[in-house]
């Protein structure tokens, strides 16, 4: 079987009259060395775009550039349904928090620190507990409010961080998937929650992922980052059958993906 070479390396899919986040011509240089160049990525509201690629290809650099943590060239725009443009507001779910398991920081502390300016070592605002509980309820984490962050399991922590990223509801949600530390059940619960929220809030999501099976299941667009730019972009079907992607991740994986995909289509036809 012959695999197509990616035709579409630009992910420009925004049409008018739909809200959309545009990353136009991003480039990042560090000490004179180009780390990212010519990155174009558009994300419709309601889209979950997965960013995949080999280690060191620039996935996390792209994420940091979008967050504004490192300086970059090019522009980032949010286009609302009335064609007005603004800078997108962002919610970010990090891979992990830098704290040891004994840290006396409770879930409530984390939220209060993010929501208010009142110093949390002194007092909490009156209504904060209610607001935090409501936020946590979105990701099935109300019961975690008084726990220390260090006590949470990997999956619980991710759901807490997701709840934090969603208040206030951002234009663009950035998910940096943890490399390890979450069991399979926790991962599935997390991504199901993400999927539900995506539909309910019409969220635009960028997911940096290392788990291709999850990407295949939950993403509706995939951007393949390699050699400092997006080399290929499209639906999971398009990207996972692409020559370059197969070279990177191995033929085995691609074949398995296509078998699973075929089964799914067959099942769908049967039903």
């Amino acid at each position: 079987m012959k695999h197509p070479i990616c035709v579409n390396s630009d992910c420009k899919i925004c049409e008018s009259s739909l809200c959309c986040t545009k990353i136009n011509n991003f480039g990042v240089k560090r000490s004179g060395i180009e780390i990212l160049k010519n990155v174009n990525l558009h994300i419709h509201c309601g889209d979950l775009t997965a960013v995949i690629g080999p280690n060191g290809a620039g996935k996390s650099t792209l994420l940091k550039a979008i967050l504004g943590e490192i300086s970059h060239t090019g522009e980032l725009q949010f286009l609302d349904a009335n064609n007005g443009t603004t800078k997108p507001s962002m919610g970010y779910v990090p891979q992990k928090l830098d704290l040891d398991s004994t840290s006396p920081t409770s879930v409530l502390d984390l939220f209060a620190a993010a929501y208010t300016n009142l110093p949390i070592w002194f007092t909490y605002p009156k209504k904060i507990r209610e607001r935090v509980r409501e936020s946590l309820a979105l990701t099935h984490g109300e019961h975690l409010i008084n726990k220390r962050l260090g006590e949470l399991s990997g999956g619980e922590l991710q759901r807490v961080l997701l709840a934090l990223a969603l208040d206030p509801v951002p234009h663009l949600l950035l998910l940096d998937e943890p490399v390890s530390g979450i069991d399979q059940k926790g991962l599935e619960l997390f991504y199901q929650t993400v999927s539900t929220l995506r539909k309910n809030y019409d969220l635009s999501i960028i997911l940096v992922s290392h788990d291709l099976n999850l990407v295949a299941e939950y993403a509706n667009r995939v951007a393949f980052v390699n050699n400092r730019t997006i080399e290929c972009c499209g639906t999971p079907q398009e990207v996972f059958t692409n020559e370059k992607v197969i070279q990177t991740f191995g033929l085995d994986w691609s074949n398995r993906f296509q078998r699973v995909e075929k089964d799914r289509v067959a099942n769908a036809l049967l039903v």
Binding site: E69, L99, P104, T105, W121
Partner: protein, 285 residues
């Protein structure tokens, strides 16, 4: 100051409290230890114990520079504390800048700066064999606090509390994940620098009383003890400040009766608190 003296006479009518130097030292302890308890919480959270240690060491070079300047411009009457402060702030910024370049681990960078600073200070101060004059800085002397020192300390006390109220939440978020803080519009670097400079200032000011050798312990141990038993940020701060205060007061009194260095006595008591809270943690789980 008169008000303070008569207040102490009224509340603490003991023999050992009748001396002016004890009253000054008491006020000094009441101002310094809560600050140490407060800042310590973030230092321990961010694993910056080594950093605060190196700040203490760099003070030696600050003193040396003060001595050189004092000799060169005798008319200006430069006190070592100002040269120490300028040098500590500079070395703090230097460490942060080099750290950002990401060329070596933070530990290594701090180690390099700290040792170089100590070496430079020793080279200058031991010239012509006169180091004994400065050995007092190694141990510190709480009983030498003057009313002028107390005024400066009072100003710093108010400033630190004010800053801690304004920046703590943002600092906490930034310490847990800089990108997360950034996504919520927090200028991470700005706060990181502010906190480090704050540490440099408070360490430098207290060094003449607490001593170079143990200053960082006073920052770290109260918070570390509190961490053993605290379940959230508020408890963490309350216990830390209380432990620092109680250790400070009892250390001052005990050092008077034992005739020992006050700073070291205080640190020893905080260590006792650490052992105690550690025991509690093991028992309570």
């Amino acid at each position: 100051m008169h008000f303070w003296y008569s207040l102490v006479d009224l509340l603490l009518p003991f023999d050992w409290m009748q001396y002016g130097f004890m009253k000054n030292a008491l006020l000094g302890v009441l101002l310094v230890t809560p600050i140490f308890g407060l800042l310590g919480t973030m230092i321990v959270n961010n694993k910056m114990a080594f950093f605060s240690d190196s700040l203490g060491h760099s003070a030696l070079t600050g003193i040396a520079i003060g001595v050189i300047l004092g000799n060169a411009f005798p008319l200006l009457n430069i006190k070592p504390i100002w040269s120490m402060m300028v040098f500590s702030v500079l070395i703090t910024i230097a460490i942060l800048v080099v750290k950002e370049a990401n060329t070596a681990s933070t530990d290594t960078i701090i180690g390099v700066f700290s040792s170089s600073a100590v070496a430079l200070g020793l080279v200058i101060l031991t010239r012509n064999g006169g180091f004994n004059k400065y050995s007092g800085y190694l141990i510190g002397d709480f009983l030498s606090i003057s009313p002028a020192d107390l005024l400066l300390l009072g100003i710093v006390f108010v400033l630190v509390i004010l800053l801690w109220v304004l920046i703590f939440n943002k600092l906490l978020l930034a310490s847990m994940n800089p990108s997360l803080a950034r996504s919520r519009g927090i200028k991470v670097k700005q706060y990181e620098y502010l906190f480090a400079v704050m540490m440099a200032v408070i360490v430098t000011i207290s060094i003449q009383w607490v001593g170079i050798l143990i200053i960082s312990s006073l920052l770290v141990i109260p918070a570390a003890s509190s961490r053993n038993i605290a379940k959230n940020m508020r408890q963490y701060h309350i216990y830390s400040v209380l432990i620092a205060l109680v250790s400070g007061l009892s250390g001052l009194i005990l050092s008077y009766f034992w005739g020992t260095a006050t700073g070291a006595t205080i640190v020893l008591i905080t260590s006792g608190f650490f052992a105690l809270t550690f025991g509690l943690k093991l028992r309570l789980g």
